[in-house]
Symmetry: C3
Subunit: 211 residues, 3 copies
C-alpha cells in the first residue's frame, strides 16, 4: 500500500465519522448514517477523480473504502451518545479529515503530473467538497462559510505546501510532502478553532462617495 | 427496447412529474417547470453515468428522454390545480419513481459487470440523487432527511434485491431482477408512508459518564 | 484565440465578480472570495465538460482562467465598498455573465456536433449552474427560483437562438451565432429585471371539482 492510498483510507475514515455524527444530529436510522458517512467520505475524492478523468473512481477500484465508511457509521450509531458535545467532535474530526484529504488530493494531482494551479485546486476541492456536500444535504450552515474562521484558507495553504515541496528544486518524497501538507493544514485549522487565528475579513466599509 | 431502457423511461417520466409539481409549489413559469422536471428526471442517472464512465450519458444518447420530461412539465403546468394535495402527490409519485430508478441504476451496474458494493451504491445513488437535487435547489427539506421515514433504506434494500438476484446461483433474468427490486423498494416506501414502518433511529441518549 | 475561447474568458471574469460579491455579503476573507469566484466562474463549464466528456476540463487546459477568477476576487475584495448596492451589482453582472455563458455553452455543444436538444441543455446548464452553485453554497435564495422573473427562460431562448442560427440553412459563423445568442439572453433578462417582463406563472387555481 502506497502512502497516497493510506492517506485516502485515513481521510475516508475520519470524514465518515463526521458524516455519521451529522446524521446523528438529524436523528436518522442506521442506513441514513451510512448514507451520510459515504457521501462525506467519498464526495471530494469523487469530484477530484471525475475532473482528472481517473477511471475507475477510487472507491470503485477498492470496495474496502465503502466498507470503512459503513463501519464508521455503525461505530458512531452505537457510541455517539458517549460524546459530551457532538458539534465539537464534528469540528475537530473535520479538521483532521480536512488535513488528510488536502494531502491526498494535492498528492494525487502531483502524481498525475499536473501544474501548480491544478494541484492547488485539487487539494482545496478534495478537502472541502465532501464536508460541503454533507452540510448542504443536511441543511447545516456549511463549515466553509463560518465567519471569522479559517477553513478554505487552511486547505489552500496546505495544498501550497505540497506544491512548493514538489516544484522546488530539493528532492522531497511524496510521503514527506503529504506529511508537511497535512501538518500545515491541521495546524492552521486548529489554531483557528482554538485560538481564533484569522485573516482580515471583508468588512463592508461605508461607500466612499455618498450619492 | 430492452427492459432497462424501458425502466429509464418510466423513472424519467415519474421523476419529471414530481419535479414539475415542486416547480408548481414555487410558482415558476413553464420554462421553470421544464427545468425542474429535467433536473429531477436526469440528475441521478447522469451522476451514475459519469461515475461509471458511460459515454454518452443516457439522455444525450436518446433525445426522447428530455422530450418525455418536458411533456411531463407541460402536463403538470396545466393540470396541477386539479389535485387536492400536491404534496401528497409528490410523495407518492416520488415513491414510484424511486422504485423504478433504483431498479434501473442497480440493473445497469449489474449489466456493466460491477461488484455487489458498486451495484448497491449505484442503485441508491440513481434512486436518491435526482430527488435530492430537486429538493436542494427548490429549498425544500430533502425527502431523504425526513425523520422517522424510510427512504434511503428502501433504495438500499431494493438494490440489495437486485444484487442477490444476480449474484446468487439461480438464473434470474435482468427483467425479473428489476421487477423484484422495484417491488421491494416500493413496498418498503409505501409501508413507511402509509403505515409508519421505520427502523430504530438514533435517539441521543444522555452521556453515560457525566464529567 | 477563437471567439469561443474569448467567450469563456469573459463569462469567467463576470461570474467571478458575482461570486466575489456574494462572498463579500457573507463577510469572508480573501481566500473565501477566491473560492466563491472560482466556484461560480467554473461551475457551469465544468459540468458541461464532464457531460460532453471533454478532456481536460477547460480550466485545466488553461491556467489563466483560474488566474482571471482570482484577480476578480482580489479586485472585489478591495473595491466592493465603493458600490452603493452590492445586490443590484450582483443581479446585473449575473445577467451579463448569464448571456455570455449561455453563448459559450451552446456554442461549444454546436462545435462538438451535438443535436439541437443537447445544444439547448448545454446552453441552459452552462449559464445557470455556476450561479446556482454559488447561491446554494452561500445559502442565498437561488436566482433561478426568483418568482416572477425570467431567468432559466432567458437562457433557454438564448440557446434556442444559437440552435436556430446553426441548424437553419443560412450560413452563420460561430461568432455571429454567439453574438445573437448573448444579445437575446441579455435583453430578455434585462427586460425582466428593469421592466418586469415575465411569462405567466403557475397560479394554483382552486381545484375544479370540489370533493
Amino acid at each position: 500500500m502506497t502512502a497516497l492510498q493510506l492517506l485516502d483510507y485515513a481521510s475516508v475514515l475520519v470524514f465518515a465519522l463526521t458524516g455519521a455524527l451529522v446524521a446523528s444530529r438529524a436523528q436518522l436510522d442506521i442506513v441514513g448514517f451510512a448514507f451520510f458517512a459515504c457521501l462525506t467520505a467519498t464526495g471530494g475524492g469523487t469530484l477530484r477523480d471525475l475532473m482528472l478523468d481517473r477511471n475507475p473512481i477510487f472507491w470503485m477500484d477498492d470496495p474496502h473504502i465503502l466498507g470503512v465508511a459503513c463501519a464508521a457509521a455503525v461505530l458512531v450509531f452505537f457510541t455517539a451518545h458517549l460524546l459530551e458535545s457532538r458539534y465539537k467532535a464534528i469540528v475537530w474530526l473535520d479538521a483532521a479529515a480536512l488535513a488528510v484529504a488536502v494531502a491526498a488530493g494535492s498528492g494525487i494531482a502531483v502524481a498525475e503530473g499536473q501544474s501548480l494551479g491544478i494541484v492547488l485546486v485539487m487539494g482545496v476541492l478534495t478537502g472541502c467538497a465532501g464536508g460541503l456536500m454533507r452540510d448542504v444535504v443536511a441543511n447545516e450552515v456549511p463549515l466553509v462559510l463560518k465567519q471569522g474562521e479559517l477553513y478554505v484558507t487552511c486547505a489552500f495553504f496546505g495544498a501550497l505546501t505540497t506544491g512548493l515541496a514538489t516544484f522546488l528544486p530539493q528532492t522531497v518524497s511524496a510521503a514527506q510532502a503529504a506529511l508537511a501538507c497535512a501538518a500545515v493544514t491541521f495546524c492552521l485549522r486548529a489554531g483557528s478553532i482554538a485560538f481564533g487565528w484569522r485573516l482580515p475579513v471583508y468588512k463592508g466599509f461605508p461607500p466612499r462617495y455618498k450619492p
